[in-house]
Symmetry: C2
Subunit: 340 residues, 2 copies
């Protein structure tokens, strides 16, 4: 197996900088759109053969250093009792959002091997056909809680923060339950064959440092401690996190995700050089002319200073309209320009 991704997670020297893309199996690929014309998003997630097929699409097309199982960050909230669907043009919608402590108390425990069996099946299906590591993943407790309380995407997270500030008992119970579910779910993915894990705390950047410290950090510490028994590298990802990076490092993870808002060297200095980092090209750069993309790829590699422990990625998921040839070009530039 080509192992430069796993080596970089452990900050071991590699022949060149490994690269993969968040949401690399996605709508920017014409072969993916063909599958989606016939099947709803949740159907693809819940049909192991389809999820496996879609996982392999970018691996077949591009010279990637890691695959990521096709799934959605929200999958674990369904067996907890939330009715989830993806409404066209609106993103995820939860039809019975949590309102109070009673709703939180009613959340069900999850047995990932049965309740989320389709994810494990997809991992077991895809793993043997891969010559690169496979990443399992889930949303992080805060990000999942925000969807569960708001009922979908949110701009200001008013209801989420209202529970946090106004009903801290309900909030802590919710975060505790989510953390338990996520430890089991992510460990089950490793047992099924995942070689690494990524925890997506995509919307954590909405919080102040003191709120993160009080309402999120203890749960994240428990999550990462619980994931240690899996024995695989864990990537801790968020966006808008310039002021949270130090605390995210404290929370845990072998690799800390950086978005494009912070220069890679500054981010790495903040989290410390005894941890690996992943990032951090602006996803919108993939819409720019090649000269501009190449310039910024080169800049990021220069800021990494050839240190072991840099995984090249975007600062957030690849956007649906991204030209495929630009993805191909970035991979080639990263591999060539970083060759030791």
């Amino acid at each position: 197996m080509r192992d430069r991704f796993l080596k970089a997670c452990r900050r071991e020297p590699t022949d060149c900088t490994p690269i993969w893309f968040m949401r690399q199996a996605g709508r920017y690929m014409s072969v993916f759109r063909k599958i989606r014309e016939k099947h709803a998003l949740l159907t693809v997630c819940k049909t192991p053969e389809l999820a496996a097929e879609v996982t392999l699409q970018p691996v077949a097309r591009f010279d990637l250093d890691a695959a990521i199982i096709f799934a959605d960050i929200l999958l674990p909230i369904e067996p907890m009792g939330l009715h989830l669907d993806f409404v066209k043009g609106e993103g995820p919608t939860i039809f019975n959002p949590l309102r109070d402590k009673k709703d939180v108390e009613a959340l069900k425990p999850v047995d990932p091997e049965s309740d989320l069996r389709f994810v494990m099946e997809a991992i077991r299906t895809v793993r043997p056909s891969l010559a690169i590591p496979l990443i399992g993943f889930s949303g992080a407790p805060f990000t999942l809680a925000s969807y569960m309380i708001e009922g979908g995407h949110s701009r200001n997270y008013i209801k989420t923060k209202q529970m946090m500030y106004g009903a801290p008992d309900a909030w802590n119970l919710l975060m505790t339950k989510l953390t338990t579910v996520l430890i089991d779910y992510l460990c089950a993915q490793v047992k099924a064959g995942a070689d690494a894990l990524q925890v997506f705390d995509s919307w954590i950047g909405a919080l102040s440092t003191s709120d993160y410290c009080q309402y999120v950090l203890p749960h994240m510490k428990r999550l990462f401690t619980g994931l240690k028994k899996c024995g695989v590298p864990v990537i801790h990802f968020g966006t808008g996190t310039a002021t949270l990076l130090k605390m995210q490092r404290e929370a845990g993870g072998d690799v800390i995700g950086l978005d494009w808002r912070i220069p890679l060297n500054e981010g790495w200095n903040l989290v410390g050089h005894d941890v690996a980092v992943q990032g951090n090209l602006d996803p919108v750069l993939l819409f720019a002319p090649h000269a501009e993309i190449e310039k910024q790829v080169t800049e990021i590699l220069a800021l990494a200073e050839n240190r072991s422990g840099h995984i090249f990625n975007l600062g957030h998921g690849i956007l649906p309209e991204t030209p495929e040839e630009n993805v191909e070009a970035v991979i080639e530039w990263v591999h060539k320009k970083s060759a030791r």
Copy 2:
């Protein structure tokens, strides 16, 4: 005139920390909603008597240290040739967004005294009835450009960045034209009676530091240099700016706005203590129980360490559903707890 706001802008000692709220004349006030039931947003902006009335509503209700003229950050783009309206539930919509350099070249110069006369009239109407300073304002070039190119709010700023990266000539022409219009527009507001100015670069946090440096900073420097001749303090505001604050300081402004994501002391250290700062309570805190609001207000004041040059505010505009009594409570706490 009660001058603690202007003194704080100049970092002079004050009897207590001044406070005002971004979007303090807004939908969270029942008297404002009554006006808006009868008149569209743009009608209120363009009818000096209505704009003046609405400007005075929060001043009559709360013990504020500054008023801000009721207007919209987008007003200057209309006379440049863009068709602007506020579509219910969608926010601002521009019906003829800019696509290319030809569209940018066709933008018209603006004479604020005639083209935006209603703003000056509103300022002239309201100024004599105020016992506190009046703030004039506008959107900043990047934030306005993003609306002009995207046609409204944007999540990823793909089209904006595509022009930035792909058509830098068009981008720089647009930013140059906007900067010229804004200098004239803001200076006209001062001439009409504004005692201070705020430049809202609300969405600048979408940019990496290197993109800010290359595509925005030169224009912002020209803007703040141009505003110096007005002779009033200028507040330079943005959100998601933790990584941009140093460059925003370099760009200019007597007061730098901080959002809630960065602890006030860290933000002030970054911009330097030879400049004033404004902020930085999370607007969503105003939905929390009083004990939690009071705790976080106290924390912010503690981080300001009784230094001259702190203006208390939210980290972004007040939200429409905010309870009025919480606004009142915050003002009282800030004044009492900061009394020297």
